[in-house]
Amino acid sequence: MHRRRRLNTRGKIAVSILLFILILLITWLFGGDKKGAAKESENIIGNSLDMLSFSSEPVEAFADSTLSQSIVEKENEKKEVSRQKEYKKQNQLDQLDKAIYLTFDDGPSRDTNQLLDILDDYDMTATFFMMGPKMKENPTVVKRTYHKGHGLALHGITHEVSNIYSSPYAPSEEMVEGQEILESITGVKSNIVRLPYGTFPYLTESMRYVLSQNEFNTWDWNVDSMDWDLKDDRYVQHTIQELKRTEEVGETPIVLLHDKKETIEYLPELLSYIKKQGYKAKVLTNDMTPLTFPCAGQCRQIN
């Protein structure tokens, strides 16, 4: 007969401790599972820290786009139609006066005073397309030019093709700078500009558009004296031939000359002819419609 043994007090304590240990063991094992689960979850967490993608690559500049070009061309075409109409009207009025516009680029120079004296002698006025830095160097002669009633106009800052035609904004930026210099010296705000070497072929449609947005009137010429090439009295003879041509076709002459020694030396000869022919020398003003060479799809950006 098997007799069931009963636990004494010590036995009970021992069993309790054993049970406690068992519970701890289970807890430990469970805890171990938790650790395992945590490790497992690392994979899930790992995905949450993916690197973010973002492309900083710039989008194509608007200025270079087809849309931009078409906007500019459409606007320029519209303006050109109205410019031609206005210019024709202006020319008709000028023809009644037998007007002539003498224009001198690249000044002021050390010879400008002499040039002003000669114009005075012939009782004539002209328009001066002046460079910003040279105006700063010779403010007195700029003031004299103004007080003598000549036209004050802008020819930019650098006279460098690589600078002034470098972007759609570059011509305007140079003209704005020149405009501020002229205004600081004379108080006159001029919108009359001429680009170095004329508008064709470097002044693109975009550049024209921006100039126009800045309310600049861009002037070229219809009589090139060639004084920049023929550095003696040959330029006078050439100009006289050109004046005869403009008279024949009914165009009011806008004569390109330069504020430089060689030109000034033979200028009296030219002015004598002009006076004798009965021309009335006038100055360009802000409100006039400019003569600008058209692009006709041929203008090109440098570089």
């Binding site: 021992a14 401790i17 054993l18 240990i21 701890l24 063991l25 807890t27 430990w28 805890g31 938790k34 650790k35 945590a38 490790k39 979850s41 690392e42 899930i44 967490i45 790992g46 995905n47 949450s48 820290l49 993916d50 690197m51 973010l52 993608s53 973002f54 492309s55 900083s56 690559e57 710039p58 989008v59 194509e60 500049a61 608007f62 200025a63 786009s65 087809t66 849309l67 931009s68 078409s70 906007i71 500019v72 459409k74 606007e75 759609p168 904004y169 975009s206 558009y209 921006v210 947005q213």
Partner: protein, 211 residues
């Protein structure tokens, strides 16, 4: 007596094996919060991935638009509609993304109390560094959301000019230059955010290995 001694030895070993239960509880709580935070970060990453895709489509719309002529009025109108749709989608994803990161951050922030009480100095340092890195990420991602919204506004102004037929070439050109500048700034923010995320990831691995 011998039995009692054996019990004492066994109990001591078990205690040694299980360690301090309070520290483990803290570590478990911290891990739990990190995991909860990670689920929201997963959603945040999903939102960002989608945002990247939609932005790509929006950029394609711009490329298509500027290839048109001003005379292609119908096509322009269509592209403007597409641009508006993608803008809305981006705004929606930005909002979701912002909410998910905020939730991830809020969950994560709850570890601070436990982290301050960790007895093991090394473990505590790592936990606190984790908090600093998360704060850095939060600051950057907030900048990102702000800059991205500005970026969308700049684009919107550009399309607005086209829609109203205000074709000031210089204004439009400037607008796109500003868009590109804005995009560059966002790129820099994201780059820095990714640097912090990588540091955070490494630090979090260090922390896990300690537990």
């Amino acid at each position: 007596m011998k039995r009692l001694l054996a019990f004492a030895v066994v109990v001591s070993i078990i205690f040694l094996l299980t360690g301090c239960p309070t520290n483990e509880k803290r570590a478990a709580k911290i891990q739990e919060k990190i995991e909860e935070s990670a689920t929201f970060e997963n959603d945040f990453v999903d939102n960002q991935t989608k945002l990247y895709e939609v932005r790509g489509k929006a950029q394609q719309v711009y490329d298509d638009l500027i290839d048109l002529s001003i005379n292609d009025a119908d096509m322009i109108s269509q592209k403007l509609d597409e641009a508006a749709t993608y803008k809305e989608e981006q705004e929606k994803l930005l909002k979701q993304s912002e909410e998910n990161f905020q939730k991830a951050y809020d969950k994560f922030s709850k570890i601070e109390k436990n982290a301050q009480k960790i007895k093991d100095e090394n473990q505590k340092d790592v936990a606190l560094e984790l908090i600093t890195l998360m704060n850095n990420r939060k600051e950057l991602i907030d900048t990102f959301f702000e800059k991205y919204r500005d970026y969308l506004e700049l684009q919107s102004t550009f399309y607005g000019y086209i829609e109203k037929e205000e074709y000031r070439f210089d204004s439009l050109d400037k607008q796109i230059k500003d868009v590109n500048e804005s995009s560059k700034e966002i790129g820099e923010v994201i780059q820095q955010f990714n640097v912090y995320t990588e540091q955070y990831s490494n630090k979090r691995d260090d922390y896990y290995q300690m537990n």
